[in-house]
Amino acid sequence: MSDVALIKSLLLTIPLAFLVFRALPAGLALAARLPLALALGWTVALGVTLLVPTGVMSYLASFAIVGSIYAVIALGLNVQWGYTGLFNIGIAAFFAVGAFTSALFTTTAPTGVAAGFTQQAFGLGAPFLVGVLAAGVVAGVLAAVVGGPTLRLRDDYLAIATIGIAELVRLVFQNERWLANGPQPLRGIPQPLVCLVREAGCPWLPAPIMGLFAPLSPRDYTYVYLVITALFVIVTFMVLERAVRSPWGRLLRAVREEEDAAAMNGKDVARIKLQAFVVGAVIMGMGGALYAHYMVAIDYSHFDPLYATFLIWVMLMLGGSGNNRGAILGAFVIWGVWTGAAFAVDALRPALAAISPELPARGPYLRLLLIALLLIFILLFRPKGLIGEERFVSRHSGSREA
């Protein structure tokens, strides 16, 4: 067995062990559950790395990275919609603001000749985690600004205002060259921990530990980044699971089920809605940061309402709103459907060409058609999604499907 495979499998163990840990019966003592999860996770990881061809494997890893990023954003949406019932159709705004904020924080502003080609408001050269944090903060502030005036009003006003903010954010990043290079992409967004796979190594890591990563080549960076995004999903998931089981989580659901909201005064309801809206947006902003550092170069067109809002809604609705596991599941399933459909359309090219010569080039739009139909079918026939809402309080049972 090669060293590369061993290291890759060790990296993959992190997300897999978590999955196994969650799957094991909760009754098991931690002392048994944790080692068992690690062992099983590693076994699976090793098996996969050895059996699956390298090319397919790295494709799957990059698939999982994007899936994880979408999972983070879907978790953010779940706080807003799933638990609190806030209808945000401007996810793209928070996604984009997070991505560009982290990019601006972590890149260094070009000087000299390069400044003529790339314009950006600032570039702090800050570390990755600072960028992610800043992304969350800025997205959260934006949410507070939008939510402040609209959350007090009827539900649909929030939806309309969020469409507006998403359009405005898109217009700003498209037209304001000085801010983040206008219509051109903002490039050179640093990849965190990329030194692990570089020849030169990470200066801050002790040599023996660095030695462990020596067999990895820059091509294998995908696995490193997969671990980073997976950790983000895991941490977000665990924090949210705690939060929704806390008294605060109960308040969110009470706001959603309006009959209980009657018992609270209007000010409290508006405050709790704002909290949920901001928390969700912070998570979406951090998801945007993860996206930026994966893509390395971003521009406004990445945050089209289709990819950056609609797809995420379908993910949450499919997985099951009001259920964090559902949000993650939905993200991966829909991302799978979306990428899978690309293969299907490719395979259908000859048939499509026979219908009309222009059709094969429009294949991607067939995917959009499929996803839009899927959403409508979910709403009509399975509004609770694949898993359905987790029930903490029996009182509310059935009231959503009724």
């Binding site: 019932g85 005036p149 649909d156 205002a161 037209n175 839009a372 409508i376 709403l379 009509l380």
Partner: protein, 352 residues
């Protein structure tokens, strides 16, 4: 005592009642005047000639006419069905493309007078309008009526509208591709001077005239026909409409047909004025909702006023702002309305 009942009856003098009525009119006029004056001031501060601002205002009225065709239907659907119809912009787009499709079947005629189009364009318009009405009706039959019967919460319906928007758009992408197209390529569209240095294109006057004619038709429908009155009644209070014995399902049907037909006409007009793109309607959605909320949800005449305000503000703002920000300006107006008068110009305080 029940808090919901109206306050104790006291005899109000006719003068007071008149004042109440005028109050709302004056409030509206003041808002309009202030906005226009503010824009004019900003333009003149930047040294933009008054003539150009006037021209932009005329264009704004025309754009407002187009927006009104969408906003009236959107407002009626919002009022009658309580759904923010996020598919409305894309219904407008579908109207524009259906007219394009119809044009491909009709032999091309010579341009009519000063306009850039011939008789065939009018035929295409007349074909596209009812088709979009039917599209709205089909959406209702296939999606919204089922959701109503399942007693789905309103947000689920709103989400279904969002899904429908993307569904319509994806069909347009598949059939026509993502590039922009024109109804007529290579025809000169010269502008001429209307008066006082205001320049417009004949097509724009046609658009304005047509929008006006349709708005008058809508007015007659809403004021003079039983179905129109029932539509207003249902928009006022759907629950009461049901217990009164109004056949709300047929009201809903007509609302989709009429709202869709108007949206179709608006889309065709918009396509004639600029060009056809699959996203054109989605970009109009925000100005449309701004117009509807500004003019009070469910109030068709309010939607007209709101659309004119948004159209003028949008156009005049291009004098000193990147024109791409037009929808952004509409959004700013919307936020102002939400902050200070969320029930809109014609709404009662508290009852948004």
């Amino acid at each position: 005592m029940d808090a919901m009942t109206p306050p104790l009856t006291t005899r109000r003098r006719p003068g007071e009642r008149l004042k109440g009525l005028l109050g709302s009119r004056w409030a509206l006029l003041t808002v309009l005047a202030l906005v226009v004056a503010g824009l004019w001031l900003m333009a003149s501060l930047q040294g933009i000639p008054g003539q150009r601002v006037l021209s932009l205002m005329v264009r704004g009225v025309m754009l407002g006419g187009i927006l009104a065709l969408g906003a009236i239907g959107l407002s009626l659907i919002f009022g009658v069905l309580r759904i923010p119809n996020f598919a409305h912009g894309d219904m407008m787009t579908s109207g524009a493309y259906l007219a394009l499709l119809a044009l491909s079947f009709i032999p091309l005629g010579a341009p009519l007078g000063p306009f850039s189009f011939g008789y065939e364009f009018l035929v295409a318009l007349v074909i596209a309008m009812p088709l979009v009405g039917l599209l709205g009706y089909a959406l209702d039959r296939l999606v919204f009526r089922r959701l109503r019967n399942q007693k789905s919460p309103p947000v689920i319906m709103a989400m279904a509208a969002l899904g429908s928007a993307f569904l319509i758009r994806s069909l347009i992408y598949v059939f026509w591709g993502a590039d922009f197209v024109f109804y007529y390529t290579g025809r000169p569209r010269p502008a001429f001077e209307l008066f006082a240095g205001i320049r417009v294109r004949p097509d724009q006057l046609f658009i304005l005239g047509l929008a006006l004619a349709m708005i008058i038709l809508v007015y007659l429908l809403l004021e003079r026909t039983k179905m129109g009155k029932a539509m207003r009644a249902t928009a006022d209070n759907p629950e009461l409409a049901r217990v009164t014995g109004i056949d709300t399902e047929s009201v809903i049907r007509w609302t989709w047909l009429i709202g869709g037909g108007l949206a179709g006409a608006g889309g065709v007009m918009y396509g004639l004025d600029a060009q056809l793109r699959p996203e054109m309607g989605w970009w109009l959605l925000l100005p449309l909702f701004a117009a509807v909320i500004l003019g009070t949800i469910g109030n068709a005449y309010g939607a007209l006023v709101g659309a004119l305000v948004i159209g003028i503000v949008w156009q005049v703002s291009t004098a000193f702002l990147n024109p791409a920000y037009g929808p952004g300006v509409a959004f700013m107006v919307l936020i102002l309305v939400l902050l200070f008068r969320p029930q809109g110009i014609f709404g009662k305080p508290g009852g948004a």
